[in-house]
């Protein structure tokens, strides 16, 4: 049972009204959000908020992700941990610090990630183009990931796989959309802008899922813990980007839900405009709520739950050494 995310696009003020969240927009409208019905709160507009509002989020374990100008990810306010477990953190760091264990977890993540890239290409093979060469290359890369002997080597396999995969995008995307090359900071064209935006959403989805466990989000296995972001969230996001972000990009573009008019050219960059962001987010949330039959759990689960169970599986692996099943598309 998962609760929906809430996105606030308006500019205004977020406050606490007894047990409820209250939003007063600059347009003079007031809305109340029952805190019990929120899984994660996203702020996309210019919002003032105070500690009392954060306190309410805290009490109900609701993470807050904040996006600033043009929806660049600014950061997250995470509620005080309900789940603390020194044991879990110790075991997580032990797994990270043991090259064999770290590599094994990293390989599982990258193999799943490549598997999910291939699943997308397989779907579009013969529909939008012939990807048999790339499918074979990716298969080989997936196999070579298992044979890597250190993390750098594994990361370079991942890099090569992503390059091969992104190289197919121009044949999948309806013109005039092109990727040409994956570029971010800032994204250079429309397809890059959508990918950046959606990858950010996959990242925050992973942050929320990890928060529900006692795992430490800063200790990742593929990414180095020195990076600025939560590196474990980056690891988990890599598994789900093809499922939650890329596939959505293809659909939005090819079904003409997005057009070139939904973007704004900025200094050396290209970004979704507000209408475009709304379209993308609506579809993203719908994707998260979509359900599929889960063979291991023997019930229907949503894509959002799938991210959660992936993190559970990793946590269990870290604590018990039972196998970690990184999510590989089976449907």
């Amino acid at each position: 049972m998962t609760k929906p995310n809430h996105h606030i696009f308006a500019d205004g003020e977020l406050s606490r009204n007894e047990g409820t969240l209250r939003i007063d927009t600059l347009d003079g409208e007031t809305e109340y959000l029952p805190i019990e019905s929120i899984d994660t709160l996203y702020l996309h507009g210019q919002i003032d908020f105070n500690t009392r509002a954060l306190g309410l989020l805290n009490e109900h374990n609701v993470p807050l992700h904040i996006f600033g100008w043009k929806d660049y990810y600014r950061g997250s306010y995470l509620p005080k941990r309900g789940q603390v477990s020194g044991n879990t953190v110790v075991e997580q760091v032990r797994a990270y610090d043991n090259l064999d264990r770290r590599l094994q977890i990293g390989q599982t993540i990258i193999e799943a990630s490549i598997h999910n890239m291939r699943a997308n290409l397989r779907y579009y093979n013969d529909r939008q183009g012939n990807f048999s060469t790339e499918l074979e290359d990716l298969e080989e890369l997936k196999n070579s990931a298992a044979g890597t002997t250190d993390i750098n080597e594994l990361r370079s396999v991942e890099g090569r796989a992503r390059k091969t995969y992104y190289g197919c995008f121009d044949r999948i995307l309806r013109s005039p959309f092109t990727l040409t090359q994956r570029k971010y900071n800032p994204p250079t064209n429309e397809a890059n802008a959508v990918i950046s935006f959606l990858n950010g959403m996959v990242y925050t989805t992973s942050v929320s899922a990890i928060r529900k466990t006692a795992l430490d989000p800063t200790v990742g296995f593929v990414h180095e813990p020195g990076e600025r972001r939560f590196t474990l969230s980056l690891d988990i996001a890599d598994i789900f980007k093809p499922i939650l972000a890329d596939r959505l990009l293809f659909r939005l573009v090819n079904r003409k839900q997005l057009s070139i008019d939904d973007f704004e050219e900025e200094l050396e960059g290209c970004l979704l405009d507000e209408k475009g962001r709304m379209t993308v987010l609506e579809e993203f949330e719908e994707t998260l709520d979509k359900t599929i039959d889960h063979p291991r759990l023997n019930r229907k689960v949503s894509f959002k739950t799938l991210v959660q169970t992936d993190v559970y599986s990793l946590k269990k692996h870290v604590l018990t050494d039972e196998p970690y099943h990184a999510t590989e598309r089976w449907w």
Partner: protein, 182 residues
């Protein structure tokens, strides 16, 4: 006593300055009789989603039933039991589906009071939604059951890896389901 482990446990509990290595709770007793894997996970601090409806329902029933009849006591910071005006110990459950585990939990409380503190009490197992009650008493055979449970719990908790995955009838409603099967 039936086993050295249970005997040592009782000895440690009787000496407040000597914490037993494993602090057994009523929930652990229940889990031991429901699923040993669940007990192992719980003993390792593996967290579950506390927001599920089942937990909320159970908490609600516990918090709203017979409130004016019973008083809660916390013993040693971990054994929480309710005492009725009559002096009996009461355990409230949402459903009688897991009857034996609930019975063992209450028996453990009675055993604890008697063995550790020398207080003899009877217990009442109550299912308010089913309007059903059962009186529980300690006797030589139930004492033996509690002590073998204690021994069993200590052995499960001591395992380096969790007991093997096994499909049970109640897996579908278990809170650890997503962790267990993933």
């Amino acid at each position: 006593m039936t086993s050295e482990l249970a005997e040592k446990y009782a000895r440690d509990e009787r000496q407040p300055e000597r914490e037993p290595e494993v602090r057994i709770t009523g929930l652990m007793v229940q889990y031991y009789h429901v699923c040993k894997r669940e007990l192992w996970f719980m003993s390792r601090g593996i967290d579950i989603d506390r927001e599920t409806t089942n937990i909320q329902r159970g908490t609600h029933i516990d918090e709203t039933s017979y409130q004016n009849e019973r008083h809660s006591f916390m013993i040693n910071n971990r054994i929480q039991l309710d005492v009725l005006g009559s002096g009996d110990i009461m355990e409230v459950k949402a459903s009688s589906r897991l009857e034996e585990p609930a019975r063992m939990q209450l028996l453990f409380y009675l055993w604890f009071l008697q063995e550790i503190y020398g207080i003899e009490k009877d217990g009442i197992l109550a299912y308010p939604t089913e309007r059903k009650r059962e009186t529980i008493t300690l006797n030589s055979s139930t004492i033996e059951k509690v002590e073998s449970t204690i021994t069993g719990i200590l052995k499960v908790v001591d395992l380096d890896t969790p007991p093997e995955l096994e499909k049970k009838a109640y897996c579908d409603s278990c809170l650890y389901q997503d962790i267990c099967w993933m």
